[in-house]
Symmetry: C2
Subunit: 435 residues, 2 copies
């Protein structure tokens, strides 16, 4: 929708058709856990702009309930079926944007299709979860997976007074983090009554009377609802079936103008890949800012403007109860895999100045390259001051800045907001000694 | 003290003598307003390290109450008087660091020497203010000046239940800000019962019974205490008298190794100047991080390490009641004066995502150069999310980043912490249209 809106703003006479499989457009998907946390809020609060605004005010031919099933690049056409009438449709294009997003991954195991086993991606998913909690009086939930969405949902469900257990096959919570930082998150989850069962290979889900039972290797967990949150896959099959190449994570390969191998076909959003600013290589890191930015870039390029979309740093933040957890750039393991010679440091600092009331511990992990001296990545965990601080490191990654130069940056100081040496600077100074 | 400690850590056999005029070293000067706000806290809470730790654990020859009165570069000697005994002293050096800091500016007008007219710079000043409030049961204070310290003190005194009026000769609160942002601060001060009298030329202070009366052009303000907070001057006379050149703001001129014109004499802290990363020209912006960093650099250089201190961006933040006020880089006026062709934008955004509870207005002002496309400066005001966000812009200034590149940076997003497009990015996108 960001591409459609921007193209219409730039060239009001352009015919812009949007084919959307579901009934919903333009909603804050990332806001869903916070909405689910509040029984009194309507899910539709998350809709940023109503479909009719796009249609009537912006003149976009927005067709909801239109699921595209195939692309025919030779004839520049897309075909599919209208959801409610089951009638076929076919549209021709001069330029096509594939913005099919992603879908929750669901393991091919017994019982994952049982009622009460739910996942969260679309607004319809969000509504289904909220209705299930209400209609079944959910008192206990099991979350499969411990990533961003799983952790945000754990907090949301705890706010509703629902008991939460989390389970995953992998051995570690947030395996991309150093263990010191992950343990801070683990402690926060424990303090908020979330039980973690990591390292549990899951064999399936069974019905157990009115409840569901998730079967792990060494435990079985009963619940009134099971949430599957083990990540997403890009909806790239439509593109792949039309002969359009995909790359890392099966995401659609695009250039810096967001074009696929067919220059009349663009891809943007969670279905498309990107170039990592640190490695210069293709990656698939589906995040909201990139999706919006890519949508604008497609509109601009279609409208004839010069466009060159920069890469991503993989900057992300999430809230886990009273903790802010943030990252940007490469982890040490990713740095190694990408051919760097990583030096790492993990430090503890304070969120406010010496002797300032309310100061909390803030953790910083930095990764640098011994060979070139470059900053490669940063991670932070703390009750305050991690979410926005990470952006300083993200900008440094975009600039290809060395750790030495980053350590010399003039960051803000006042006692309520941090120590004289910002925690990022303390970490950079420590990292320099290891490089 | 940061230079002394670091030199001793690197070279334990070096003889390090510190001559300090007052009785205090190593305290958090910026923390004083927050300490004054709390009658129950001792001022000495702000001492980071006791003098005896430096003496006994670190082996520094720390001589408090030793006021240096002259430097004799020819004989590499400093002389002065011991405060309590009034005996003279003289010390010889191989390398000298001038770290004399700054002092509050006090206008040469009648009545500024009356009892109850106070200023805040040293720990002794802080103790005097706190004692005056207690001993005289201060119920009403007038603050002359409306800068960082004045505003922090206004908040501190209001927390003590003291009525506060502020007065200054200049027409505008925070004249370096665009008026839209300054008005947000003005409204916050008004909401917290602070009365502002800007544009009032002050002719002096009179005794009025037990009270003091500050005489402005159109108003006279009575108070139990008058705080003078119109800025500081560098204590550079000692250097100047020894023939060492000073520059902008009369601060001591230093190179990137913190050396003065005499390579055996260094200067660091609020008495020394710096190079601005945006203009490449000398500036005097006395702030705590720079002082600490410069102290370390002096120690490293004296110990034979390669040192090249980068410039400052003038990054600063302060809290004004429930507002965070932050800046980095040049203002539009400074940009113009420095020969740039500034384009500016001021936007309003939100501190949290669409429909996320508790979202507040956040203001961003960005300055870019039309000729080169470079980002030149940023300012932010808001109840949350300004203090740490400013650092992303500060890093961009250090990198000499263009507004176009900054607008493409991958900043963190999650609903509790900001909109999908970070307010800085929204501002950068808007600024691009004007460049």
């Amino acid at each position: 929708m960001s591409a459609a809106s921007r193209a219409k703003r730039t060239m009001p006479d352009m015919e812009v058709i949007v084919l959307e499989k579901t009934g919903d457009v333009s909603y804050s998907a990332c806001g869903m856990p916070y909405n689910i946390a509040d029984a009194g809020r309507e899910m539709d609060d998350l809709v940023v702009r109503q479909a009719d605004v796009f249609r009537q005010k912006q003149g976009i031919d927005l067709l909801t309930g239109h699921g595209v099933e195939s692309i025919d690049p030779g004839n520049r056409a897309v075909s599919g079926t209208i959801r409610h009438s089951q009638e076929p449709f076919r549209f021709f294009y001069d330029r096509l944007l594939i913005a099919t997003g992603g879908r929750p991954r669901v393991p091919d195991l017994p019982g994952f299709d049982l009622p009460g086993v739910l996942a969260l991606k679309s607004l319809e998913d969000g509504k289904a979860i909220k209705a299930h909690i209400r209609d079944h009086g959910v008192q206990k939930a099991v979350i499969i997976g411990m990533g961003y969405v799983g952790l945000e949902m754990a907090e949301a469900l705890r706010e509703r007074g629902i008991a939460v257990e989390m389970i995953k096959p992998g051995a570690d919570l947030l395996p991309w983090m150093p263990r010191e930082l992950a343990q801070v998150v683990t402690a926060e989850l424990a303090a908020n009554g979330v039980d973690l069962h990591a390292g549990q290979t899951i064999s399936g889900i069974e019905q157990d009377g009115k409840q569901l039972r998730v079967i792990g290797a060494d435990c079985s967990l009963n619940a009134d609802m099971v949430l599957v949150a083990i990540g997403i896959s890009p909806n790239s099959e439509l593109a792949a079936d039309a002969g359009i190449p995909t790359g890392p994570g099966n995401a659609i390969t695009v250039n810096r103008q967001m074009q696929t191998s067919d220059e009349t076909i663009y891809a943007a959003g969670d279905c498309a890949d990107a170039i990592h600013v640190v490695t210069g290589k293709k990656v698939w890191i589906p995040l909201a800012l990139r999706a919006n930015r890519a949508g604008w870039a497609v509109a601009d390029h279609v409208c004839g403007k010069a466009v060159r979309v920069d890469g991503v740093a993989g900057t992300a933040v999430f809230k886990a109860f009273n903790l802010e957890v943030a990252r940007t750039g490469l982890t040490a393991a990713e740095a190694q895999q990408s051919g760097f010679d990583p030096a790492v440091v993990t430090i503890k600092s304070r969120s406010r100045a010496h002797a300032h009331p309310g100061s909390k511990t803030i953790w910083v992990h930095l990764i640098g390259d011994r060979q070139t001296g470059r900053l490669l990545g940063a991670q932070m965990v703390g009750p305050e001051g991690a979410a926005h601080r990470i952006n300083a490191a993200a900008v440094a990654l975009h600039a290809g800045m060395s750790v030495a130069t980053f350590a010399q940056t003039d960051l803000a100081y006042a006692p309520p907001f941090g120590p004289v040496w910002d925690p990022l600077l303390t970490a950079a100074n420590q990292l320099l000694k290891k490089m």
